[in-house]
Amino acid sequence: MRKRIAVLLTSLALSCALGAGPGATAVMAEETKNASSGNAELVVGLSQDLDNSLDPYQITAAGTREVLFNVFEGLVKPDTDGNFVDAVASEHSVSDDGITYTFTLRDGVKFHNGETVSADDVLYSFETCAATTTNTAVAGALSDIQDVTSSGNEITITLKEKNSSFLSTVSSVSIVPADYADQATAPVGTGPFRFESYSPQDKVVFVRNDDYYAGAPALSKVTCRIFEDANALYTSLDAGALDMALHMSLDQVNSLSNGYDVIEGEMNLVQALYLNNGKAPFDDERVRQALCYAIDIDSILELTEDGHGAKLGSSVYPSFTKYFDESLVGAYPYDPAKAAELLDEAGASGLSFTIKVPSNYTPHVDTASVIVEMLSAAGINASIQKVEWSTWLNDVYQGRDFEATVIGFDAAYLSADALLQRWVSTDSSNMINYSNKDYDAAIEKAQHATDDEEQVAAYKEAEKILSDTAANVYIQDLADFVVLNPKFTGYEFYPLYASDFSKIRPV
């Protein structure tokens, strides 16, 4: 499903004719353009500031996880195809009953502070992660561990019961040095880049880990400049102050005049019109289905992204190939007549509701705008209320005080659980108050499945229930555009929110 097309845009050419002036350009040039081999520096624009803590177990924002992907590694880590490959471990094996996992520590892996990774560090990491992680799904999976033991450089993990997606949990336990107290402000891991400095609202700097076991990366230094304003970031990129920017929108990419390369992938988000299933009128399945019929997904894609982006049918995005069920995509074709009929039946014609959207996420605000317009044509009166991110978290996510919202959920780690667990009726992050016994049972079955096939089938069953009951109006996985200075190459997409700087190299 994933597209990897590099689109070269024609430069508008008016820029070069006028020549460069003195001053700021000269100074910045040193910082930006130093792409000679062995000493190449990359300047990246980030559209949001980092989390308050850089401790890998405390990270909550996807944007922070995405860049610290370069600093931290687990015993295994995901590759670009979504498989788990050895990282801090040099090999791993699973017993036939799927209960015991054995990892062999890679020889001479060094932390960024110069110390060699020991089995004790691994034990410490598992213990600390289980006790402190902010990720409920990871915490849940870790609580199913019977014990973790080590002998020499061999680590053995015994589970209470079989969990066929356990490697994904292992990959999200970053290996950190034991008893190091400053992870929050000066993170130390084993990844290809070493954290150098962070200045809030300004920049975060990573430098090459020369001791990296898989060979030092090509870039000597990566400076991420923090913008917090998509427009300012875009202007800066177009002017050439940045070498790379992530998560650009199609409109931005189309407007780019500096001749940078554009690489297309997907955001790995489940963008939907999430409906509060616990609140009238959306506690009525027919009303939710009516909305599904009344919203023309193709039209949304066309208007917001010129048809890029991938349609969804349930709470799993397409690059999760193993779990994605393509048959659900067209479950609710655009049919305003049917929508009206269903609304009539439910006694909810003349429906009127408010969509709360976080004002700082333009793609979601745009999608909401299109939905409102589309619904008004179908006689449904929806209105938008833009709220601050903090207010959204407080009112919608935690307070569940909303009728509908447009947002995107990403997977914190590579398992369908990361996307589906939240709609279990008792889950603390079930913001839509979804409550369906069959669904709960399906997820339960998947989590304790004895083999892979059974697990996948159970997850797909759960996805189908979400679709059948029209839990939400599933829209799209947004197209993701990475813009890269043509002096560099090698960017690759992962099936989760991660930006791997170690693959980027000067041309």
Binding site: A230, N231, S255, L256, S359, I384
Partner: protein, 264 residues
């Protein structure tokens, strides 16, 4: 005929006002209907200011957005002016402890970051045009109150007021029938400046993301939205931006003209 400001200002503001008033009832195209095939069209005879990223006619949206900005600014000035006159007149005329306290409150509002105050009001009451008006209106009271107070403090001891007092004219009558008309030469320019500042303040608020809710637009929120398309669709940002300039310019020229003709 010597007063060119009055003439230019008069013509411009009549033009702007009539476009705005028309916009309340009719726009060449729908301001909300989206059309994927019409996205980002450059200005043409059918779309004077081009179209935006949803294929909506920018001119129609500017008409409506200017109406929204205009309405907000006018209401803000009226609230600020009305409350400012009441507070300023009482403070200036009577003086004393109440004056001291009220002026301290005005100082506090002036010294308080406007964005925080606006955010508080909008998060309590929700984001709507009326709440934006309320938030900005409160912010605009102190400047009016201060101007009015100075005027009243100066006028209250003039002989004709003393005479009125001796004749037993009631206080409200003195305040608003005798003194108020004499403050107009100062109050009217203050209102024009206030109008300009209110347009700018609303635009700044929308620019920081607290303001008008889509699909409705104000000139400020359009400018914010259009920033992404400066290279590919400059007409969008320029249309919104220069409309702000024109809106402010027409009314300040008018006010300039009125002042000049008064002095002659």
């Amino acid at each position: 005929m010597k007063n060119r400001y009055l003439l230019t200002g008069g013509i411009l503001s009549t033009l702007v006002t009539s476009v705005i008033v028309t916009g309340y009832f009719w726009t060449p195209y729908s301001t909300t209907a989206m059309n994927a095939r019409e996205k980002m069209q450059p200005p043409s005879l059918s779309h004077w200011f081009g179209t935006d990223n949803f294929g909506r006619d920018v001119f129609s949206r500017v008409m409506q957005g200017a109406g929204c900005s205009f309405l907000i600014a006018v209401l803000v000035v009226l609230i600020g002016c009305f409350a400012g006159v009441v507070i300023g007149s009482l403070c200036g005329y009577f003086g004393g402890t109440a004056d001291l306290i009220l002026m301290r409150i005005c100082d506090t509002i002036t010294a308080f970051p406007a964005i925080l105050l606006a955010l508080v009001i909008i998060s309590i009451a929700g984001s709507s045009v009326s709440n934006i008006v309320l938030a900005l209106g409160i912010l605009f009271i102190p400047s009016f109150a201060r101007v009015v107070r100075t005027q009243y403090a100066g006028i209250r001891d003039l002989n004709y007021i003393k005479a009125a007092r001796l004749e037993g004219v009631s206080v409200p009558r003195i305040l608003y029938a005798h003194i108020l008309p004499n403050t107009l030469p100062v109050l009217v320019p203050a209102m024009t400046i206030g109008f300009n500042n209110a347009v700018l303040a609303e635009a700044s608020m929308s620019f920081l993301g607290i303001g008008i809710q889509p699909p409705m637009a104000s000139l400020g929120s359009m400018l914010k939205d259009s920033q992404n398309y400066l290279t590919s669709a400059p007409w969008y940002a320029l249309g919104a931006g220069f409309s702000i300039v024109l809106l402010i310019l027409s009314f300040s020229l008018l006010s300039e003209g009125i002042q000049v003709s008064r002095n002659e």
